[in-house]
Symmetry: C3
């Protein structure tokens, strides 16, 4: 992966301030909006069924996150998703906690059936549950198991016809043919709520400015992981409160040079013709 | 403007801890509550149609913010607003993102029709949209255009019979006759979500302790801008995460002397008899 | 009180990462989740009536907080509470702002009638209002009066057949027979929103790992108060923004030794046979 590409996307985000429409959970709205602003994007949260289709149609990307799902919001997600599909707006989906309850599983499956998802992001257990595979889960912060994450990502990508990102100790993203492995990030991310959710929205920001969505997703993962490492270097010993503050600072400060110096990316061809 | 007045209001907020009833969006609830607490006020968030009229009736000010509007909340805003009107409680309205969708525009107009607004605060595009003027808008963080903001504020104030504050690089507030221009503030405010929303609630805190509402609004704008400048001096180079933390510190620390030393205010008579 | 017990519970939280299901208000969701994560627990927020019973049944504790109550949420609290009761999951209830409106009072009373509460936490005014006693209240941040808090706690504990924690300048917790007085904490806690709400969730985390619920509650109060004192020592002079960050750091850093060195606890027998 040419890491200059990440820098170019960053630059486009900061110049163009793409509007990212988030329908997300009540725990992370503030952190998500601040993270997107720090990065250079323009976040908007809009949930009402009366307006989501219109808002999604003018956005650079639509991010759906079912962390604190309810019936009205699920309906709004589908309305917004369909509108995004019609208008060529990429849809990023974060099926938070799918598998934890039957309702979440059913709703996640309904969303992937009714909306064409551009990029699906979750931990391994969540991705497994979206496609009906078995995987152990405890709540929404489940650590990853040792099973074959790459195989799972590829299977999900093919089954759903979408790009799939599975994040954990190592992040992977694939369209089923080409796979990026990203080695950046820091364990303290698991001690701050919403770091997965914000990552999904950051993928949205990159997808708004880079039409090769696999590259956009991989770029977002590298950029996010590098910013986290920079923040951890300055604050991890102080604790998760300080890390959260420093992480917002670093999302604002990160430049191409950081990514080129610190980015850890490997590309694999899973299938010819990718 | 005698800047002692700002100090007196600050003192009254800290002595009396006025109850500020906020019906606001899910992105900024926490930041708004913390900002009001830091300043010395007592925030309460209450949304249920069963209780908003009662809560508004005992508040020092009611703040309506439609950032993440829905049907139930719009109804609650009107119930609360009418109760505030009946009980002589000032109503501050922040029409977040009006103009971004038809639904927001219609709801904002419904609110100003059914509730007597004491002070309306928004950026230029939002204020224009409330009164049906054309203005360019992109999402909720739209930068201000170069058109005549003062003329817009005056027109809105007259058309709605209310005080109008338009914030941006320079802030203006007018009742249609007298205009205050406030030169305080800092660009990094645009990189932290909810700084406009919190400002609207801070106007509520000043309106709860100063019956001259134009003066209350102008005082809030100066105080807020000076606190932002103090915070930026200590943290802007670190980034928006650090600024947000420091800004809460400064809302707590600010005293009359800061305002007198740093406040930048001009008064203009737009129309005699003001 | 043997303060080693607090250290043992802390250790169990960090080893076991108990799932704490919160149905809480929109102001404090993020701070609550971050506080629980910092401490070592696994927070989940789930509100939909379709899933709350299932989520509560697999949780280590259920926390109900009515800070931004509405009809749907009140219904979800009762569904979740009944499920927790059936599955032996402790239920911690925080009746935020009860007494401020008739609706809150009625809802709090409905909840304590329909759900068996394990531990009830509030300030004196809130607890008084739950059991229909008179007490002065102003909003949700009411300072405590001078009436006999211990007598109120004991009365509430007996009337409701539950453990009652009343927090304020001094914290007390009782099952009606044995009383713990905890002298830890710091006044700056009142300048950060959600510190009471997070405390209720932290009580949930301790209740998930310690079956003697009175001991669990007392342990949580000591641990929380000591963490606040440590954070205040490092940040109180800077202001409430810095304190909030530092407090999350300290919830993550606190160990048995801190509690033994700083914990201030007295036990009183209110009634023989306790």
């Amino acid at each position: 992966m040419q890491l200059e590409v990440v820098g170019q996307s960053l630059e486009r985000i900061r110049q163009g301030n793409p509007l990212i429409h988030n329908i997300t959970n009540v725990v992370v709205t503030n952190f998500t909006a601040n993270g997107l602003l720090a990065l250079g994007a323009s976040p908007v949260m809009a949930y009402a069924k009366q307006e989501v289709a219109e808002m999604a149609s003018i956005a650079g990307a639509l991010v759906l996150n079912m962390g604190t799902l309810n019936e009205t919001e699920a309906e709004a997600m589908i309305l917004a998703g369909k509108s995004a599909n019609e208008h060529g707006v990429p849809v990023i989906f974060d099926p938070v906690g799918v598998g934890a309850t039957a309702y979440r599983t059913a709703t996640a499956q309904k969303i992937v059936e009714q909306v064409k998802i551009s990029i699906l992001r979750g931990n391994a257990a969540e991705i497994a549950n979206v496609i009906g595979e078995k995987w152990q889960i405890k709540g929404v912060d489940a650590a990853q198991g040792n099973q074959d994450v790459v195989a799972l990502a590829q299977k999900a990508a093919k089954q759903l016809g979408t790009i799939v990102a599975i994040t954990g100790k190592e992040d992977v993203i694939t369209d089923g043919k080409t796979l990026y492995r990203i080695g950046n990030g820091h364990p303290i991310l698991t001690k701050v709520t919403g770091t997965g959710c914000l990552l999904t929205s950051v993928i949205g920001a990159f997808a708004a400015v880079e039409s090769d969505l696999l590259l956009a997703g991989a770029s977002a993962l590298v950029c996010y992981g590098v910013a986290a490492e920079k923040a951890a270097k300055k604050s991890a010993e102080e604790g998760p409160g300080s890390f959260q503050v420093q992480f917002l600072n670093e999302l604002s400060a990160i430049v191409e040079d950081d990514v080129k110096r610190m980015g850890v990316v490997q590309i694999e061809v899973l299938e010819q013709g990718g």
